[in-house]
Amino acid sequence: MVNEREVKYDEFARFILPVGPVHPALKEPFHLKIIVKREEVLDVELRLGHVHRGIEFLAENRNLIQAIYLTERICGICSHSHTTCFIQALEEVGGLKPPERALYLRTLIFELERAHSHLLLLGIMAYQIGFDTLFMYTWAAREKVLDLFEEITGNRIHHAMNVIGGVRWDLTPKMAEKTIRVMKDIEVTTRRIYDFFRGETVEKRLSGVGLLSQHDAHELCVVGPTARASGLVFDVRKDDPYAAYGDLNDSFSVISKKEGDSYARTEVRILELFELINIVQAALDRLPNGPINLGESPVRLMRRIPRGEAISRVEAPRGELIYFVKTNGGDGLERLKIRTPTLANIISLKKMLIGCEIADVPVIVTSIDPCLSCANRITLVDHETGEVKVVNADELRRKKS
């Protein structure tokens, strides 16, 4: 909604530029209505909901095992975060304790996933500023991580790693060796990528663009690298350790930057890549022996989960991911509620976008690393107050008809 009081313009110089839902800068559909004057952005309006699939609703109608795969398919980039978060909640309800080795393997995949996700973002960022070569470089490096996934879990994207009470695939010594090797490679490449990002043209495009002050970041409840780049030090892995992060606490530190611009957000991700390489190495060093799951049939385990509820959170690549799970005592779910990181972050877009140039829009949007397949639940009407209006499924359906 255009705020008429605030927008001063001569009628002819201003026009509305629709960005999305189908736009090459956005790999996924969401709609930004941008009101511009020549090159300057005066106002933005954000509309989500194009990929809403009603997963929470679907999960409530399926049994727990089916729901695992459903949560995995909320998103292809942090699929493992979703299943981990979900299964942690189930295990809490059921009082199941996965064996140590399983926790370590979960952590391992988790960090590899962060590696692939961060490299992906760096590539997309380069692509947005027209730097195809850098995009190709980072994505070529990312392929190595995907190869690891494929070898360990059998798929490049949807790992199907987690089962109730443990993990499904074990790590053979050969794979462990390869993982170490790949991590070394990634470290070298990341170093080089870091150099490219510090290079003249790239830094020019990113620094000072899309400022989000610490105060605003706090106010808008942003999470993950977006928050950390605005000076908030907050990381679920440290603050509320899950899986094996408690044991690995000494192997990494939380990266935080003060600047709060797109460059800082990118830099935080690059530095996190170095941290996660340490985590992976530490995890492989300390990897205990033993079983990788409870060894019972999945169907029996599923039936053992009583009625109850739990909240679980993990630090997905894009920030804190929260699951609220309420089981019905049979083998199904009574309620599933997911708070995804992008949804928390996307609200901050409006703050960042107003006043920037058209050329900065893709940069800023990418810098919070939005991937909307999890964020599509609401229609957001955001005025100066930062107020959020949630439109539920019924309303959405009514709107459609």
Partner: protein, 140 residues
């Protein structure tokens, strides 16, 4: 003469990719197909930004109700001749999202699909093969 035209068409499929509610899994694999490892450009594939430039429409996702009118519009915007490739299991049948109130899919209820590439997500190689198969069949 006609042979040259059809050969050129096969050799230069320009792709427009549309996400109809997918989980990103297939989308990133499509992008991965353009990167050095798979390099779809050696077969002439280029990802274009406007449907008006495209020859091949790649669709992913189970088709949510919000995206449905847009899919139709994009399909109509692509100049003839055009091919449609549905990538991923959820584009083929809507599974595992079938049964949701906001899913209109499967895709082929709305627009004609020439080639289906199964997988969740399919490997980039399979996607490339899907594109090549589609243009060969449609334009050959």
């Amino acid at each position: 003469m006609w042979k040259i035209a059809s050969r050129s068409r096969i050799k230069s499929p320009w792709i427009f990719h549309l996400n109809t509610g997918s989980c990103n899994g297939c989308d990133i694999e499509i992008v991965a197909a353009l990167t050095p490892r798979y390099d779809a450009e050696r077969l002439g594939c280029v990802l274009v930004g406007s449907p008006r430039h495209a020859d091949v429409l790649i669709l992913t996702g189970p088709l949510t109700s919000q995206m449905m009118p847009r899919v139709v519009r994009v399909y109509e915007q692509i100049p003839e001749p055009k091919a449609v490739v549905a990538v991923g299991s959820c584009a083929i049948s809507g599974a595992p999202f079938l049964g949701s109130y906001s899913i209109e899919g499967p895709l082929d209820r709305i627009i004609p699909v020439d080639v289906y590439v199964a997988g969740c997500p399919p490997r980039p190689e399979a996607i490339i093969r899907g594109i090549v198969t589609a243009v060969k069949r449609k334009f050959g």
